[in-house]
Each structure stands twice: as C-alpha cells, then as structure tokens.
Symmetry: D2
C-alpha cells in the first residue's frame, strides 16, 4: 500500500538532525520525493519539509520522528489533503474572482466553505458559483459587534485558513488572536512601504516608479505580519492613482493566489516575523 | 547648416500650447525628431520635451518660444552637449566602478571632473582611470567643516550634476540647498521602504521577498527627494543581510546609471516631489 | 455640450503634421486630454493618438483633419464606446475566467457577446455568467468545416475583436484573413522562443530559467503576428513542465487581459509586423 | 582544527542516499552549514551540494563517501578556494569591465589570469588593472589557426574557467571539446529566441516587448549549451535596435556576473543540456 506524507519540522538546530531523520525514512524503506531544509544559523533554528512515499503508518512515522527531534520541536506528519478556506471580502472582485475561477477549475487545493462580506456587492458573483455568501453589514454596530458576528459565521464552518481577499476592515487584536497563523491577507502595497490606508494614493503622492502587493499572515500589528509573497509592476508619471489601483489589482490577485498555493501545500513555515517558503 | 536642440518646457497648462509651440517649429521649417508631452490635469501643469533639427538660430528659437508660453514657464532650448559631473563616494566601488567603465567606453554622456571621497579606499581605482581623486577625511572635524571642504572642492570644478555613488554621509540642508536639483543619489532600498541607515538589515529583519534600489534627487528631507528610477530583485529566506547587500549592489549600480543617463539626456523634469521621465 | 473623441492617425511622416493637426484642435477650442506621438524615422511613418474634449461635431472634426493629413493616412476619430468581443476557447479556464471576472466587475471596456469552444468543458463556467456559450465539436469534421461553423457563429454576433483565450486550434489562412487585425491570441511562451506545440515542454527540455507569455494579433503566419504585450516569470530546475504550465497560466491571463485592455482603448497601432502601444 | 568542504554529488538516485551520506557526516561530527538536494525523478538522478565544517580530513571524507554513493557517481569534496579564470573578449567593455571592477573590489571569487582579445580596443582598460592582456588578431589567418593561438595562450595559464565576456567569434567544435563545461558565455538574447548573429536586430525586427540575456556553458552546438542564468528588461516601440543593444548591455553584464558567481561557488551542476543551480 503506497502512502504519501508531508513531514514538516521546525525546531532548534542540532548536529545530526538530517542523519537521524533520514535514518527513520531509510529504516521504513521510504522514498523521498522532495526534500528542502533551511538552517537559520544566527537563531539556531532548523526547518525541513520532506515528502515521503512508501508503505508506512503515518502515526508510527510521527511517533518515531518525535523521538529524534528536540523536545520543543514543531513536528507535523500530514497526509496531503484538500484544505478548507473561508474568504472575507468587501466590494472588489478581482482577488475573490481569481480564487473562484481557480476553485472552479480544480486548481485550488482547497474547498471554499463560505464567503463573508461587509457589503453585498459581491453576492451575485459568489452565488454564480453556488458558494455560500454571507453579508454582515457594519451599520449601527461597533467594530467589536461586527467582528463577533463575522467570527460566529466563520466558526460555523470548517476551515484551515481565513483568506482576506481585499477585506477592507481593520481587524482587532482579539479577532486576530483567535486565528493564529490562519489569516492570510493581501495588502495593496509593497510592504513595508505604504502601510495603512489607500497605499495607491500614497504611492502616487510619493511618485514611485514601481508599485507592488504583499501577501502576509495577519498578526496583531497592522500590515506587519510575516510576508509570504510579494511582487511588483512598473508605473510612471502617466499613472494617476486610479490607474495604479487598476494596474495593481493584477499584482494583488496573483500574489494572493501564489501565497495561498504555498500555504495550502504546507510549504510555508512561520519563523518569528518572517516566513520560510519551500 | 543643420542644428539640433532639445526644447524643454515646464509650465502652467493652457489651451493651444501644442499648437503655438508646433507653429513656431513649423514656421522655421524644423524637423521634430522626437516629441513627448505630459499634462498633469489635477495641477494643471504642462511638460514637453521636443528634439528639433534644422537650420535655425538657437537664441532666436528660444525668444520666439518665450512669447507663446505662459510667463511663469520654465523654458530651455539646449544644444545637446556633453555634461560634466563630480562624483562623491565612500568605500564601495560598484556604483562608482559602473560609471567609470561607462565613461571609459564613451557610453556616459558626461565627463567625470573629479571623485571626492571621505575614505581613501577608492583612490587606486579612480587613479587607474586617470581621474582626479580627492580624499576628504572626516576625522577631527564637524559635519559642517567636512561639508565645507567637500563643497569647496566641488566648486573648484565645473559640473552640471553631483552624483552620490554610495556616499554614506548624510548631507546637511545647507549643503543640499547650494545644489538644487543637481544632486543625484542612489539609495539602497525600494523607497519609501527602509528609509535611513542600513536598509538591507532592515529588509532582512522585516523578511521581505523583494529588495530594491532608488535613484533620486536629493532634497532637504532625507531619502525623500523626487524619485528618478527604481528597480528590484527577488530574495528569499536563504539570504542573510550580507547576501541581500551583495545582490542589491547590482540593482543599485544599474538604477543609478539608468537615472544618470536620463538626467544627462535632459529627459527628467522635476514636478513637486515627483519626476516626469520622458 | 462636452464631447470626447480619440483621434488616431497613422500616416507617412511629413514636416508640420503636429502643427496642422494641433491647429485644427486649437481652432475648435478643444482641450487635449492626452497626446502621444511616435515617428518611425527609418520607415518615415507617423503615429498619433490624441484624446480631445470640447464642444465639437465629430464628423466635422474628422473632415477637417482629413484635409491636413497625407492622402494615404489611416485616420480615425472615434467616440469612446464600449466594444464588443467574441471569445474562442478550448478547455482551460484561466484566461477566459480572468476576462469573465473583469467583465462582471465592469472593468472590461467591452461586452462579451459569445463564447465559442471546441469542447464543452467550459460551458458551465460561461453559463454561470449568463453569457451565450456555443460548443462546436471538431469530431468527424475537416478543419475547414469546423472553421466554417465557428465563423458562421461569430458572424451572427456583433463584434470588434475575436479573443483567443487559449483556443488550442490552429486557424487556417482563410479564416484569419476574414478578420484582419481583429483576432488577438495569447501564446504560452515568450515568442519567438518556442513557437508551435506545447511550449512549456519545449521550455522544460531546453532548461530555460525564465518562461513567458505573448499576446499578439493573429496573422497568416503561426505565432508570428504583431506582438502587443509580453511578460515573464522565473523558473528553476525544480519545475517540471506541468509546474511551468501551472505557473505560466498566471502570466498568460494577465498578459492577455493587459493586451485586450490596450486594444479596447484604441491604444494599439499595427505597424508592419510590430505594434505601437500608446 | 576547523575545516570546511563543499560536497558535490551527482549520481543515479537510490533509496537511502541522504541517510547514508548524512551518516558519514554524523559519524565525523560535522556541522552541515547548508544543504541542497534535487532529484530528477524522470531521469532518476540525484544532485546534492552540502557545505560541512568540522575537524576532518578531506581525503578521508571523500573516500568514505565514495563507498556509499553509486559507482558511477560524480563525487567531489572540495575545499573552498579562489578559482582562476581566463577571459576572452572582443571590443565591448561592459561585461569585461563589470568583472574587472568586482575583481578589484575583492568581490569575485577568482583571480583573472589573463584577458585575450581578437581586437586591441580593450587593451588600455585591462592594463589599467595590471592584468595581462593578449591581442590575437584574426587577420590573414584561418579560424583554426586563430583558435590554435588563443588556445596556446589559454593553456599557458592556470585556469578553472574560460569566460567569454562578449567574445564575438564562433568557436569550433574542436576548441570547445578541449574545455568541457569550462567555457561560460553570455549571449545577448533571451535564448532560445534569437540564436545567432545580432540578436538585438532580430528582436527589433520581430517587435518584441522584452529583451534579455543568457549565460550558458558552451557546447558544440552554437547557443545551445546548458543555461545557467537569464534575465530580461522591458522595451517598447521607441527602442531602435541600437537602443535595445545599449539597454541590453546592463542585462548582459549582470547575468554573466551572476552566472559566474554561481559557477565559482560550485553551485552549478550540469544535467544533460540543463543546469541545476543551488
């Protein structure tokens, strides 16, 4: 019986880790389909993502690996499986639409469980794809009340990740802390440039010659979470800020989908405020 | 007799400007070799760079144009000529070296009048090219005294532009204000990200996936002058900050040389805190 | 009454063209919203795209311009209007999906009149957006018969452009010649590299470090028509050809949509086998 | 005593390779400073580059590794050392100059033993850096005679690699076969587009929107050797072919230096007609 597993290890670096881990694979006669390692020497941290195949029991493998990695190790042995996501959006359809099209084509390694938006503009688009859409208006409600409703809706669904596909509301610390390393945002600037509101207007005012987008995990600090992917496009003096916004949308959606693809394939390790992307 | 001139106009926008200007060219039977215009509608500003050839007197042409453009217009009619530059440097040779090689190959539209450095590390390199090198050490000297010496050295030379080829000293307002729109700097980050000291360390700490460089005119505000050119390269978690620095040097030198080429060919207009690059 | 028109001129270069044309604008008290010119000196060809606003009659303006441009000039004075397109596709949804999402968001300056495909895979996706879908299978049919059916379907619709959104059939000369400069294709390589079938496999076999996509007008010569837009992404030895294909799709769809946007806004001139994109 | 070695393995893939190799490191108490592996599953080939440090004898390590890798394995255990290069050039100085400046700054991990050129244009530049320059004119000489002279000059020097820094002569098979995987060329196009003479003119004629450069090992087939690095820059209709050439030079020199850096650091494996770059 041919099994397949992703072995994800994130631990203090020690001499012999690769040897001890590969011995466990060797003893079980496993094939190594792909193997990526990284050592942060300064912080003495070891990261490894290995895909193994063979005739093995996933729990037994995990237990065996547990013995050889340091006690504080963050070890996961995962069967590749389709993940589940909940998407938060506002009014713009480009990032959401890109995910919907990939989903429809079977190119997204995830099921979209629900789309939740603070406006109803995107309802028709989402319903076209027969995906549950929830409108949670913000009117006559405090930020906390609104978030509570959103949070309740999220929690009614199974999900691995929450994807902010241009969700234009700032999230409170208490919301964010409920979903550690589970919220992925696309910020419409080349962070850390132009943190905060309307980065395209800021970019226009500053007269930059390149604009970009940044996909990152959301932490308590606004626009300060670990960066997963970034990309840029050239602009020039003929771009008004609306033109930058329009051109930027292409970068936003591609960067978000690229980051999402990394995350859904368990290729991303969070390391302090950074990421390792294998 | 075939003359050639660059006509540079920067003025309040008015109806009929193109007509009135092109009529002057037409009346003198001039050829338009290239023509670029831009209108900032919001600020109602008109920019034009036209290269004309024909049998004409450059002063007469300027006088004629003066009549049809608004009174406050910034009008220049320039015979293309080799410019002169003074370079300021510190210890790193990549940006300076790139300019020296282009100069030697006859590909820089400027003569290098002098290289002034606050260290003597680059003296041998510069002397290899038989270009005057001046070492102005900073020891036992106030910032103002040092700048005064540098300024005196600069002023002994003819120059159109001062090029900061990784000159790692912050310039005072009084120095900068002596050379308005004449100082071109290369900053080793994708501004406005990572303003200030050691941007590569900042980029490393932030965990960005792309680094860049920015060539800009120097104004009183540190790293805030009008941007002329920017470019970027991808990095990843395997880059320590020294690796980013090393990789970034290629971007720095190319961006500086590209910006310098624009400026030396009179292709750059400063517009508030931005540039128009034709 | 405020009108707006795009003036598109493509003619033999002559002295005084800009003057004569701008005089006509001036005499009618028109505002020039944007103005781009290009002269191919070697071939002595003049290209101009000007957007004018004001109180004017579009036919009178065209007649007046007709008088001052050379006889052979290709002159158009166009009121900006929403164009119509017919899309041809096969099985892949990324390029089609990108256009559908933009269309839904009102960001495409065109109506999609119909989608015609040689497979029925994309039917559901297209129907979700309530856009007419036509399946023209190729079975038990010659290439000419199939094209005839497609052509008849196309001709039943109003259209300005035919967009090949990864239509994986080679078109015959007789088909192409029915729609000169009206067919826009996205080729999944950085042309002229990897002309023909399965460029990703070719790219993989060749071991390139960058792959790309090319949007171009379709002419009789396969993959040889005037290029409108191109873009690239880096790849490396870890990419199998399927990975290149997957990564390449993002470039394909963005490049096609970018080219389509240029064309729909009348920003593209065909000049021999090249394009001028203003 | 702290040693450091690069372990380079290129062999048939087998189960247990990583285990057996890492066991050898572990048994000798070595630190793994960096480790990169790649398996070409289709061709069943295994590639590994590991940097180890510790108290070890390099020959003993190699012998021990020899035992565990397949018999046909290409195994090298190398002490990092400064390489030696011979440069061939013609008239253009940008690629050569870039290497000279890096060399002077101590940023090139190689000594330049000699520069050999078929013209004397670059003699002064090379002599400025006190590097031996040899002019081998081609006049009144067959291609074979000329190559014989060049080859004799090369062979008088110690070298690891021959760098063609825009050497504009086609090399014969017999010359190339003397230096297998030792000749690195920079081709001034995004290969495989525009193989052969004057690729910028070809690119101009084709009307591409992006141009590039390709660094590759030289094999018997012109412009067909394994690609090490590529990069591109955007161009547009305003670029004549001379402008493309000028802009392209920046890409050429950066790509060549980047490839050279990979090669000098033993980061490149040749795999059929491709490269693995760790």
């Amino acid at each position: 019986m041919e099994n397949r597993a992703r072995v994800l290890i994130d631990c203090t670096d020690e001499k012999g880790l690769v040897y001890k881990i590969s011995k466990i694979f060797y003893d079980r006669d496993l094939n190594i389909d792909s193997n990526r390692e990284f050592v942060d020497k300064e912080k003495s941290k070891f990261f490894m993502r290995t895909v193994v195949t063979g005739d093995f029991d996933i729990n037994e493998l995990e237990t065996a690996l547990q013995v050889v990695v340091p006690q504080n190790a963050n070890l996961k042995v995962i069967e590749p499986r389709r993940k589940k996501i909940v998407i938060l959006a506002t009014k713009e359809s480009h990032a959401l639409g890109d995910i919907l099209i990939r989903h429809e084509a079977g190119e997204l390694d995830a099921d979209i469980e629900a789309v939740i938006a603070n406006h109803d503009v995107l309802e028709q688009l989402v319903r076209r794809f027969e995906i549950p859409f929830f409108h949670v208006p913000t009117e006559s409600m405090s930020r906390e009340e609104h978030e509570k409703k959103v949070s309740e809706l999220i929690d009614e669904h199974e999900f691995d990740y929450i994807v902010l596909a241009k969700y234009m509301r700032i999230l409170t610390s208490s919301f964010v802390s409920c979903y550690p390393r589970q919220i992925i945002n696309i910020h419409h600037s080349f962070l850390p440039a132009f943190i905060g509101a309307n980065p395209y207007k800021q970019a226009f005012e500053r007269g930059v010659k390149i604009i970009g987008a940044t996909a990152h995990f959301v932490t308590n600090d606004l626009d300060e979470g670990p960066i997963i992917a970034q990309d840029v496009i050239p602009v020039n003096h003929r771009f008004e800020w609306r033109d930058m916004q329009k051109a930027g949308r292409d970068v936003e959606k591609i960067v978000l989908s690229r980051a999402l693809n990394f995350v859904l394939n368990d290729r991303v390790f969070v390391h302090g405020n950074k990421t390792i992307v294998f």
